[in-house]
């Protein structure tokens, strides 16, 4: 009697509980590894501060490119941290447990993606005004930059997750991941950076937000499905 109960215990938790448990687990693991947590943020800071060295210290020139620089750096920082998403889980076998669990994989993947965004995307969003200030972005564009990053960086995590899921089983995957993920991320980069530059010219930006929101909605509904399918292939 006891046996049957315990063997079914795993299926008794609801999808919502499984979602929360996965999210919590990933966040706890990330908080315990301070280096992994800091690296994307440091990378973001360093890349952004390379641009003035490469372009010019001139405020006029820098303010023209500042939106694009922050956006491209955010994109690269998000990609750099992607490997954490499934790799450790793949190596210690917990990813297999995730795939075997009776819960819908869509929600588990979504939980992992949200955790990844909270760890790597949100700090970038929070830091962006500081970097925008250092790059002489006009102050009226700060909020637009923060808001576009707030909508755009989750999309980067969701698209990136597909790329990692496809390559998690491979030995050397660093560059392949970039080749797969970066072209997919171009629409978000274009629209996000465009919104910020448009606000600097005093143009209306409502349509940019509508498009970014549409892409986020599409990514939220469809990208985890693709990630889940890819994971099932990679972990065969």
């Amino acid at each position: 009697m006891n046996n049957t109960v315990s063997s079914h215990a795993g299926t008794d938790i609801s999808t919502w509980q499984a979602f929360c448990a996965t999210l919590k687990r990933d966040l706890v693991i990330a908080l315990k590894r301070k280096n992994d947590l800091l690296n994307p943020i440091m990378f973001f800071l360093i890349v952004v501060s390379l641009f003035p060295l490469g372009i010019s210290p001139d405020p006029v020139e820098l303010s023209k490119v500042s939106a694009g620089v922050v956006w491209v750096s955010a994109l690269l920082a998000s990609m750099l941290s992607l490997d954490n998403l499934y790799r450790a889980d793949y190596e210690d076998g917990s990813l297999e447990q995730l795939l075997l669990s009776p819960q819908p994989l869509y929600f588990l993947v979504l939980a992992k993606n949200i955790a990844h965004w909270l760890i790597s995307g949100l700090p970038v969003v929070v830091l962006s005004p500081l970097l925008a200030y250092m790059l002489y972005l006009p102050s009226e564009a700060y909020w637009t930059l923060v808001l576009t990053l707030l909508i755009g960086t989750p999309v980067l995590s969701l698209f990136g997750s597909i790329g990692v899921a496809l390559t998690v089983g491979l030995g050397s995957r660093g560059l392949i991941l970039a080749v797969i993920v970066l072209p997919l991320s171009t629409p978000v980069l274009i629209i996000g950076a465009k919104a910020v530059t448009d606000v600097m010219f005093g143009l209306p930006i409502g349509n940019h937000f509508a498009l970014l929101g549409a892409i986020l909605a599409m990514a939220l509904t469809m990208a985890p499905l693709a990630s889940a399918a890819a994971l099932r292939i990679s972990v065969n």
Binding site: L166, S172, V179, I233
Partner: protein
């Protein structure tokens, strides 16, 4: 219908059937190419604005139109691979990726040569050029993923997923890029769509060239797929028989 469908999935059946198709396709391509090239390069009058360079269009437009068709084709083949596990569909998907990359590269190159003459620059961050460039990167991604995964079965499924995700993204990229560069810079004076207002002596040879290059594309795809079939089925009896027959001839 289902019998036909499952038959189509058999690589051997396709190999034998394409043997019969190929001579006709070769003949059609040579005829269309000869007429099209002769007409386009020698008979079509010079454009009053672009002069002789208008003839680049007869290569550029067919190549570009096919490069746009390759990604959807790869996604459809990928879907068939995932849903029906048809081996042939994956062979087609694998064969179309490098061809698509080549055609995209050719479209970019011929466009650059044309652009140098008309715009005075090899490269501009024009919407069409940029979206084609990103599509080129997507093809490279699919090819890189395929070569990185050792297991053939896993590579087939992974590339199928990437092809589908990419195909959903291609229109988004296209529209975002178009809209990105049309706000700052009014639509350029050279429109690639300007076939309609032109007289038939300009667009009829273009149609012939488009069909000629399409037939060329189909031939290239069939030949690549046939190679793939022979490679994957090299242990099956019919391929061994085929090779020994070829050797004895």
């Amino acid at each position: 219908m289902w019998l036909w469908f499952s038959k189509l999935g058999s690589p051997r059946w396709f190999y034998e059937l394409s043997n019969k198709w190929l001579p006709w396709l070769y003949a059609a391509m040579i005829a269309l190419m000869a007429i099209g090239l002769f007409w386009a390069l020698l008979i079509v009058p010079e454009d009053y604005q672009q002069g002789q360079t208008i003839r680049i269009m007869y290569v550029h437009v067919p190549v570009a139109s096919i490069s746009l068709a390759c990604f959807p084709l790869m996604a459809v083949a990928g879907t068939i691979t995932l849903v029906w596990k048809m081996k042939l569909a994956d062979m087609v998907a694998k064969s179309v990726a490098p061809i698509g990359a080549w055609f995209t590269g050719l479209a970019l190159a011929s466009g650059a040569i044309w652009g140098d003459q008309i715009w005075g620059t090899w490269w501009a961050w024009d919407a069409r050029l940029t979206s084609l460039l990103i599509q080129f990167f997507l093809f490279i991604g699919v090819i890189a993923l395929r070569s990185a995964i050792e297991s053939q079965d896993a590579a087939a499924k992974a590339c199928a997923i990437l092809a589908i995700v990419g195909a959903i993204n291609v229109p988004i990229i296209k529209y975002s890029v178009e809209w990105w560069n049309t706000l700052h810079q009014p639509a350029s004076s050279i429109s690639f769509d300007s076939v309609a207002p032109n007289p038939p002596e300009v667009w009829v040879p273009l149609l012939i060239m488009i069909s000629a290059v399409y037939v060329f594309f189909v031939i290239a795809l069939i030949l690549r797929t046939r190679n793939e079939i022979l490679q994957r089925e090299r242990r099956s009896q019919w391929v061994i028989d085929l090779v020994s027959r070829e050797k004895s001839v």
